[in-house]
């Protein structure tokens, strides 16, 4: 039974194009959402299906006409897929300007992929004061206007409902994360599929599937594995997860942008649902692309690792991701101070050979099990 559910997660995670075509065949319009955060609730409420566009593991060719080699491969592969028509049929892509590389993606997109509209989402970094919340709201209004041009209709009542749908999904994802901490028998690859599939299914469907999965999980597994916390932007490479599994590592918590960072903050209950969504963004934190001079994220990693009895932290660095590269130094120091072993592995969407990652994680495992 549970294997059926796990297979469903895997199928959705592994075949975004099939998912997209399924929705388009149902007469639905697709709006792509780029990393790291976008107002999916708005897109959903206006009748579109938001689908995550975090690129794919592939060789880059056409993207090189636009990007120099030293920009992260997530963004480069999003453009590559766009140019190669892998997203054909999508109505638009929403790209936030949360890091320098993302800023340039939107600018290139306009010329490289002319049949999928670029919708910018400009978030403030001083997001907590009233003027920051007002600016977030103005950014949302801009997204709404662009979606209206594509035939969407904005209705505050519908947004209220969508906010609830997303909050419910957040809640179930947090429960999944917690449950998995006690289930070493669920592999890293399976865990990755559960999180990744969320980007290619409607939130209603994904929530339902997660509920099924949780109901089927049963008693906590007894396997003796090495508990680790994983941190980074994206950890969906099959080879990477294969290595975690080969090393007998059990991910008991993640600080991964494409995974749990998405689900930590809910939309608060307020009369004005758009204002509420802006307040949600103000409340978000613990992330390398959200300004906070105190970097609470660093302590969050240490505390979570302790809470979940992790033996170590693995930082999965997406090559050329400067926001994460700056934070890494602070994470490393905090882990050292807390006597928490830490490993750094570098990944890239163009990577074919994972020997370096394997060697690093082997050494780390040996150190932890000594």
């Amino acid at each position: 039974m549970i294997q059926d559910t796990i297979r469903k997660f895997h199928e959705a995670a592994a075949s975004p194009r099939a998912q997209m075509e399924k929705y388009m065949a149902e007469g639905k319009k697709i709006v792509l959402t780029a990393p790291v955060y976008t107002p999916e609730e708005i897109i959903h409420s206006m009748g579109f299906v938001p689908m995550g566009a975090w690129g794919a593991d592939m060789e880059l060719n056409r993207a090189k006409e636009y990007f120099p080699a030293f920009l992260c491969s997530i963004v480069q592969s999003i453009l590559e897929l766009g140019i190669r028509d892998a997203y054909k049929g999508a109505s638009a892509i929403v790209i936030p300007s949360l890091c320098d590389t993302l800023k340039t993606l939107g600018e290139n997109w306009k010329y490289a992929v002319d049949d999928i509209k670029f919708i910018p989402m400009t978030y403030p970094q001083n997001r907590k004061p009233d003027y920051g919340i007002a600016f977030t709201k103005a950014g949302y209004e801009r997204v709404i206007r662009d979606l209206e041009e594509l035939g969407g209709k904005f209705d505050p009542e519908a947004l209220k409902e969508s906010n609830k749908v997303y909050n419910a999904h957040n809640a179930v994802m947090r429960r999944v994360d917690e449950a998995l901490a006690a289930h070493p028998e669920i592999t890293a690859a399976e865990r990755s599929d559960i999180f990744k599939s969320a980007y290619f299914m409607t939130k209603e469907e994904h929530t339902a599937l997660c509920e099924e999965f949780l109901a089927e999980l049963g008693e906590a597994g007894a396997e003796d594995k090495l508990a680790i916390v994983v941190s980074g932007i994206l950890t969906d490479a099959p080879q990477l997860n294969g290595i975690f599994d080969d090393m007998g590592m059990h991910i008991v918590a993640d600080d991964v942008a494409a995974q749990s960072r998405q689900y930590r903050t809910d939309v608060p209950e307020m009369d004005d649902p758009l204002q509420a969504l802006a307040v949600k963004f103000a409340n978000m934190d613990n992330c390398s692309v959200l300004y906070n001079v105190k970097k609470p994220r660093v302590q969050w990693i240490v505390d979570t690792a302790k809470e979940r009895n992790a033996k170590g932290v693995v930082v999965v660095m997406t090559k050329f991701c400067d926001p994460e590269e700056f934070d890494y130094v602070m994470i490393k120091r905090a882990c050292e101070a807390a006597d928490l072993p830490l490993a750094l592995v570098e990944v890239d969407r163009q990577m074919v050979h994972f020997e370096q990652v394997r060697t690093n994680l082997e050494t780390f495992r040996d150190m932890l099990t000594m």
């Binding site: 990007f67 320098d100 934070d327 490393k332």
Partner: protein
């Protein structure tokens, strides 16, 4: 002029002392005083701020805060040959060598607190503005942690639209006053509207003179060597809110005008070709990059810096809009149009693009933008790989080949035109 080409540069004549009334002397003094004044202030126990290059200087100047500019410091360190050494210090701390070299140098300085190639006063507060990049946010967050001092963040987001929206003006204005109040509270300072008005007057005066001086490249031959701008720019970064800056920039303008009238130029060889240079200078290889052009009679007559410090405004809102419109904060179309204007106004025949390993934002849509500029202006475009401060990312051989290629196309174009 032809004799000068043949004269090998290695035969060094004793340097004539600079005329203290010359722009070069005045600008050089302002730039070096900028560091010394902050060091002196620190000694006297007055607070010092480290400030990002496009932070509204109107704030620290009005409040009387002493300032130092880490980008400016890093450029100086790199130009004097210590870029690699400092980068390695940061890398040993765990900073990836993919991170902007200015940030690496600055973080290394925060650790060592000395670098004979360019010392600065240690800060009591950090004034960060991300209108040039978000890398700045992460860099200053880490400085704040490393040094245990407060950081004031003025967020000016990248604008995907051509015009600055009212929502953005409101957002940035809110932060502007918040920043002022935070600094007042931190250091017991007092905002003074009259002082503010005076500072904005200085800033506008310096900006106007800078814009006009750089615009003198409209003449053929240009009355100046564009590499001058890369040096003089330091004053626009660090001192545009000071009275001396406007005065010195006006001297520069006067000299350029006189050069034109007398048929002279600081580009001391025959000007055979005129190009626009795109990107930050390769500070560790300033001489090599300059010579590669000069030896071929190529004058870099303009760069986006000619437009970058146009902080000339008539109201508070206009000032905010100016800070929202600095080069790295604007979309491709607006960036492109500004450059097309510079190319056309200054009779540019070719575009040389520095693909700067340090700067993701600047390099990230440069390929598409320069294609569009080349097409619109009907000029050849060539790029080379480099880095503003980490010498490991530049190859002189590649630079030379690329410049030679550009030169040949410009020559062919010229011949075709003349034929």
């Amino acid at each position: 002029m032809a004799e000068e080409v043949k004269k090998p540069e290695e035969v060094k004549k004793p340097r004539k002392p600079l005329d203290p009334n010359s722009a070069k002397y005045k600008l050089g003094k302002i730039a070096s005083d900028a560091f010394a004044t902050a060091i002196e202030a620190k000694k006297q126990g007055r607070p010092v701020a480290w400030v990002s290059s496009n932070f509204p200087v109107e704030i620290p100047e009005t409040l009387g805060l002493a300032t130092a500019y880490p980008e400016n410091q890093a450029a100086g360190i790199a130009a004097r040959g210590a870029g690699e050494r400092m980068c390695e210090v940061a890398e040993a701390e765990g900073y990836s060598n993919d991170i902007c070299a200015y940030a690496r140098i600055s973080l290394a300085y925060a650790k060592l607190k000395e670098c004979p190639e360019q010392d600065v006063a240690m800060p009591d507060v950090l004034l960060c503005c991300n209108n040039i990049c978000n890398c700045m946010i992460k860099w200053y967050e880490n400085l704040s942690q490393e040094l245990g001092i407060p950081m004031i963040m003025l967020d000016i987001p990248f604008n995907p639209d051509y015009e600055v929206s009212d929502a953005e003006v409101a957002y940035v204005s809110g932060q502007f006053w918040d920043a002022v109040h935070q600094l007042e509270d931190l250091f017991g300072l007092k905002w003074d509207d009259d002082k503010f008005e005076q500072v904005t007057g200085f800033s506008c005066r310096a900006s106007r003179a800078w814009l006009e001086a750089t615009a003198q490249a409209k003449y053929t031959p240009s009355p100046f060597n564009g590499f001058d701008l890369l040096n003089h720019m330091a004053v626009m970064v660090t001192a545009r809110g000071k009275e001396e800056a406007g005065e010195a920039m006006e001297t520069l303008l006067k000299e350029y005008k006189e050069n034109h009238e007398k048929g002279e130029s600081t580009f001391r060889v025959e000007e055979k070709h005129r190009i626009m240079f795109e990107g930050i200078a390769c500070w560790p290889y300033l001489r090599a990059t300059s010579r590669g052009l000069k030896d071929r009679g190529i004058n870099m007559v303009t760069t986006i810096y000619a437009d970058a410090f146009g902080f000339d405004y008539n109201s508070f809102d206009e000032m905010i809009r100016a800070y929202c419109s600095v080069p790295n904060a604007i979309n491709l179309e607006k960036s492109r149009d500004k450059r097309i204007k510079l190319c056309k106004d200054n009779n540019v025949e070719g575009l040389l693009v520095h693909t700067n390993r340090s700067c993701k934002l600047w390099s990230g849509f440069m390929a598409e933008m320069s294609r569009q500029i080349g097409k619109e202006c009907n000029i050849p475009v060539t790029s080379f790989d480099g880095d503003q401060a980490d010498p490991r990312n530049f190859s002189e051989a590649q630079y030379d080949t690329r410049v030679q290629g550009l030169c040949e196309i410009m020559e062919a174009n010229k011949e075709a035109k003349e034929a």
